[in-house]
Amino acid sequence: MNGVHDMGGMHGMGPIQAEKNEPVFHERWEGRVLALRRAMAAWHKWNIDVTRHEVERVPPAEYLRLSYYERQFVAFLEMLAKSGLVTRAELESGKPAEGAAQAVPALTPQKAAVLITKGVPASRDVPVTPRFRAGDRVRARNMHPVGHTRLPRYVRTKLGMIDRDHGVFVFPDTNAHFLGEKPQHVYSVRFAARELWGQQAAPGDSVYLDMWDDYLEPA
């Protein structure tokens, strides 16, 4: 979706506000939001692409106003309700519905430790023929899906060159909508800064993006 989250190249966002000796969490609730999201993901009612898209769907003015963890929290409430793990009435009242079944937590402390150290790979060990190889000239597709995509606006229609093939990965554009993983190759694609931004960019500079096969066409 052409949302405000897709902010590469935008102007007017102000100076970068770096904080010295920044704590990992500024407030306790921020850590709880992160942990609750991780723990509830263990129910496998959604995936990482669903979670990213839910954050993108926060209305633009809100998206810019809210802090990172506030956005995560708002999106989390939506995912809980949509997944059916919690009803909207329960979210409103803060109490389990009368007669609601008692679950057994999906994420134990032991599983949490494994989750942190092993992760959840997005690569897939399936044979998929790559459409491109290193050195190929490519053009980023001119596409504007209303759903989730990881193809930023600033690179669409631009010419680049395949730098390397990272292998086969889950495709977010379908996975974010529960339409399947559609595994395909992801490439690192080099775009000259001047191709993206014109003469204001330094001549030798470049931007590399990781791009799925479906985002690219031969050039």
């Binding site: 919690v86 803060g94 030798g204 993006l209």
Partner: protein, 216 residues
């Protein structure tokens, strides 16, 4: 953070958080109670997750990787060709670092990491990202004006240096291998690691040969 914070940048954290609804902490607490009561989560698992990110995982991990690469050319080669395996040699890896790529800064090339679409960041080696990395100013400007962003961090690169910006649009996670500072030849690996800052591994700073600058 670099020691040279531009004027006016010291107290802007308060500004960042002014917009927080006063009840967000209460709302999160209420949600946690509901999820616990329904048996969907258990608090020891939440505590374990938070403890890991607060105390076990952070930029010191990445600094050890960098120092090893500086001290051991064979390791550096492995790190640049198969980052996952090389990082795992030091015992690091996992969530949001499942697919690592390490890019090397040299006299000719300077690399900078960003995620314009959200806030992707290599957690196992750098920990959770700082607020500025997740902020609209950094995400919007680092691809269109990387040199301006770097100047804001106190790093003025010569025109002849090639700047490469890595926008983390997929599940690959990037770590910058900074240049080994001149004047640090006599230091051992542990001493070298102490010099390596988080900012240098994102690419918004260089590594100084003395400890005084290694605050972030």
């Amino acid at each position: 953070m670099t020691p040279d914070v531009p004027p006016g940048h010291e107290h802007q954290h308060e500004h960042e958080h002014q917009a927080i609804p006063s009840d967000v902490a209460l709302r999160v607490k209420a949600l946690e109670s509901l999820l616990v009561e329904k048996g969907l989560v258990e608090r020891p698992a939440l505590d374990a997750l938070i403890d890991s990110y607060e105390h076990k995982i952070g930029p010191r991990n990445g600094a050890r990787v960098v120092a090893r690469a500086w001290a051991d050319p064979a390791y550096k080669q492995r790190l640049l060709t198969n980052a996952n395996a090389a990082i795992a040699e030091l015992g690091y890896g996992g969530q949001q670092g499942e697919h690592m790529v390490v890019v090397e800064n040299t006299r000719q090339v300077h690399n900078l990491i960003v995620c314009t679409l959200c806030s992707c960041y290599p957690w196992p080696v750098l920990g959770l990202p700082p607020v500025w990395y997740k902020s609209a100013p950094y995400r919007s400007r680092s691809v269109i004006d990387p040199r301006g962003v770097l100047r804001e961090f106190g790093l003025d690169l010569p025109q002849e240096t090639e700047v490469r910006v890595w926008d983390s649009t997929a599940e690959l996670r990037y770590l910058v291998l900074p240049e080994r500072p001149e004047g640090a030849e006599r230091l051992n690996e542990e001493q070298l690691a102490a010099l390596v800052t988080r900012d240098a591994m994102i690419g918004v700073a260089k590594v100084s040969p003395t400890l005084k600058d290694a605050s972030a």
